[in-house]
Amino acid sequence: MLKGHLDMIVLAALASGPAHGYAVIQEIRRRSGGAFDLPEGTIYPALHRLEQTGLLSSRWTAADSGRQRRVYALTRHGRRALANQRAVWRRFAVAIGELVGETSHAAVQHIH
């Protein structure tokens, strides 16, 4: 389930501003309250894939340690894709909530 939403998770983690891979992983952990403890190596191919599809841009920067660091940022196309995915996810979450009895029917009607 998590794998199917990996792109949205990564985009959401970058919504607050540019970040390098390690910071993206930390942000996902922090914002999910530790629930999403993804294998770290899966984030980098996802960042690369999203960059190739034009949803992210990246550039090398120098870290305080002196090492070269790749920093990723959402592109305009990426922000639009994230907004669309968020809207789809909210509809999905409310519908599932309704199905399992967590959300009122009125909320579902409101979303539609």
Partner: protein, 234 residues
């Protein structure tokens, strides 16, 4: 620069698994190295050797990571193949049309004993080009309709091989077309007395040869990459 044999071994293993795309593997190596050092910098109270082992273990199996990179690498490679195929087809088309227009403009006729011979070669040329165009269009449609999965697997390898086969079939037909173009141009130049005017057909032929060579080189590079990436599936 800090050094760690644990990190070096891990990064070497990752680079080995990613030899299907050497420029990408160099970039990934630098990026992952930074990640691993950042990980242990954020765990100052752990034993350094143990922290390095944990960082490598948490990052994951190099082969699985390489498989994920391979999917996006081959997506780019096949799309680039599609672009080069379009360039080779349009370049050859405009080369042929341009030479025809140039011969007309220069009133560059042929002697009677060469006319029949050239007509035969022109027929071969046109049919070979039409075949290249038809296969090329099918190939471009195939490339555009395929979606790259998250990870490189046997199914995606079959798709990439399909793209390569279609590009190779296009290249063979295009090569026949370019070779016949060379023969036709050679026959015309054989009896020409206009060496300066011959520069235009010679240059257009050179451009066609360069484009087809580029397509063949790309196909060869993709086949080599597939062979390297196939080792990830063993």
């Amino acid at each position: 620069m800090q050094r760690s044999s644990i990190f070096t071994e891990y990064l070497d293993a990752l680079a080995r698994e990613m030899r299907f795309d050497v420029p990408l593997s160099r970039r990934v190596r630098r990026e992952v190295e930074d990640h691993l050092w950042e990980t242990i910098a954020n765990e100052p109270n752990t034993d350094p050797i143990e922290a390095q082992r944990c960082a490598v273990a948490r990052f994951g199996d190099p082969r699985k990571i390489a498989c994920q990179y391979a999917a996006s690498s081959f997506r780019r490679q096949t799309r680039r193949g599609g672009v080069i195929t379009i360039l080779a087809l349009t370049g050859t088309y405009f080369g042929m049309k341009g030479r025809g227009a140039w011969y007309g403009f220069m009133q560059w006729g042929l002697s009677d004993h060469l006319k029949d011979l050239v007509a035969t070669w022109i027929a071969i040329d046109l049919n070979a080009f039409r075949m290249a165009l038809a296969i090329g269009i099918i190939g471009l449609g195939y490339i555009a309709s395929r979606r790259a999965p998250m990870s490189f697997g046997p199914g995606y390898r079959r798709q990439v091989k399909g793209c390569v086969a279609l590009c190779a079939a296009t290249a063979v037909a295009l090569l026949v077309s370019v070779v016949t173009d060379i023969v036709i141009t050679g026959l015309r130049l054989y009896e020409t007395r206009l060496p300066a005017a011959a520069l235009v057909p010679v240059l257009s032929i050179a451009a066609e040869v360069a484009l087809v060579s580029m397509l063949i080189a790309h196909i060869r590079a993709t086949i080599r990459r597939i062979a390297f990436a196939s080792s990830l599936l063993m």
